[in-house]
């Protein structure tokens, strides 16, 4: 068994794939359960209520974000696998490189700024409520309001999939990337509103976007798995699943 694993030419790809799966599971657990930062608390609270929120979630914030800081590196194999999918396509390597460069940044607005800011807020409960409220605004606006990296990344992946002649992904997945990119635009009004459907916890800016994002993530994880199963390490079109050995 172990000899087979050692000889398996796909082991690095499977490692990257499982890292992706495990990362998103932990990500969901930390954000939705441990730190209670998703669904996001209200942007309309006054400073006193925000301080109370930090006090209520003190332990959760520290434990949860400690886990996130430990596993941030897991996004690297995940992004590398996506870039690998583009290198397997018939398109220019520039697509994969552009994606990698952009997504090397993605963890910063995508989670790290929020994790750092909220950790600071939790670690310094003696600061004035106004400062705590500022930290709270900064954390959630950078996390929810800045989707440019993800928007462009989705568009690069979309263009690569639609131009590809090696049948690495089905074309509908390319169009799903466009759908995902369009919902990343929808979060931008969150900078303007403190309540309602476009606020950072709003029905349109958060809930509907989250449904799209979860669907998109689940779909791309399944599609990457299929890519690894079909991979033949050649340069031509990818064979169908039945002909591939796993």
């Amino acid at each position: 068994m172990s000899a087979r694993w050692r000889d398996n030419p796909k082991r690095e790809l499977w490692f990257a794939w499982w890292t992706t799966v495990v990362f998103y599971q932990i990500f969901g657990l930390v954000f939705f359960v441990i730190t209670r930062t998703q669904p996001p608390p209200s942007p309309g609270w006054d400073a006193a209520r925000i301080v109370q929120w930090f006090n209520d979630n003190h332990t959760g914030l520290l434990v949860g974000f400690a886990i996130m800081f430990l596993i941030t590196g897991m996004v690297a194999p995940a992004n590398a696998l996506i870039a690998y999918s583009m290198r397997r396509m018939s398109v220019s390597p520039a697509f994969g490189y552009a994606y990698l460069v952009m997504y090397a940044l993605s963890a910063v607005p995508g989670m790290l700024l929020l994790c750092i800011a909220l950790s600071v807020g939790a670690m310094r409960p003696d600061r004035t409520p106004e400062l705590i409220a500022w930290i709270y605004d900064f954390a959630f606006l950078t996390y929810i309001g800045t989707m440019g990296v993800f928007l462009l990344g989705s568009l690069v992946w979309m263009a690569a999939i639609l131009l590809d002649k090696n049948r690495v992904f089905p074309k509908w997945f390319g169009y799903l990337n466009l759908c995902n990119a369009l919902t990343e635009v929808v979060v931008s009004p969150a900078w303007l509103f403190h309540r309602g459907v476009f606020a950072w916890n709003g029905l349109i800016a958060w809930w509907i976007d989250m449904v799209v994002f979860v669907t998109y993530t689940a779909v791309f994880i399944v599609q990457l798995r299929r890519l690894i199963q079909r991979e033949d390490f050649e340069t031509g079109p990818l064979p169908d699943l039945a002909g591939a050995t796993g």
């Binding site: 089905p170 074309k171 509908w172 169009y175 759908c179 459907v197 349109i204 509907i208």
Partner: protein
């Protein structure tokens, strides 16, 4: 042999263009349906405000925009038809006509937005204008992507080496979606009383 294959292919093709584009149409329709549901739900809770704000919109501008986009759908359909029959010059002409009508729509939209700004109505004025600017803005973004898509049709039609009928039809499907979404937005924002 080739004839049989073509016939078989035709029997297997349920929709024009790539079936994948229809998956996109489905995703987008679901998304916009959810936006409309949110809009109608909020509208039902404060109908008076929505009716008052709606009175600031010029119905005839909305009607004009709808006619322009419906006409562009007609011209893109004629483009597909001409390309199917091998009339690539006519197809190109119709593709340019479609782009022209799209540009007319865009200009109308921008003029309408500027007029609203002058009247003091912006994204943050009230709930109605929040939805109005969001829905029309997001639709306009789809229209801008539509110009890229039309560019791809022109690229396909120009050279005899390309001319993929599937791609032309796939792109036309996208354009029809932009039109179809506008008709719904028009009904929701301008017509519903």
């Amino acid at each position: 042999m080739t004839g049989t294959e073509t016939r078989r292919e035709q029997r297997h093709r349920f929709v024009p263009g790539q079936p994948d584009m229809w998956a996109f149409v489905l995703f987008e329709t679901l998304l916009f349906t959810s936006y409309f549901a949110v809009y109608l739900f909020n509208r039902a809770r404060n109908e008076e405000l929505y009716l008052q704000s709606q009175a600031h919109l010029e119905l005839w501008v909305g009607v004009l925009n709808t006619i322009v986009l419906l006409t562009s759908s007609w011209s893109i359909a004629r483009c597909v038809q001409a390309a199917r029959a091998g009339g690539y010059r006519a197809a190109l002409g119709n593709a340019f006509l479609t782009a022209g009508l799209g540009a007319v729509f865009l200009v109308c939209k921008v003029v309408e937005w500027v007029r609203q700004f002058r009247m003091g109505n912006t994204l943050t004025t009230n709930d109605f204008f929040m939805h109005y600017f969001f829905l029309t803005g997001l639709h306009c973004l789809h229209l801008l992507i539509g110009f890229v898509v039309l560019g791809m049709i022109v690229y396909q039609l120009r050279s005899p080496a390309r001319r993929s009928q599937t791609l032309v039809e796939t792109c036309a499907t996208y354009w029809h979606t932009v039109d179809f979404l506008w008709v719904l937005i028009f009904a929701m924002l301008y017509v519903v009383r």
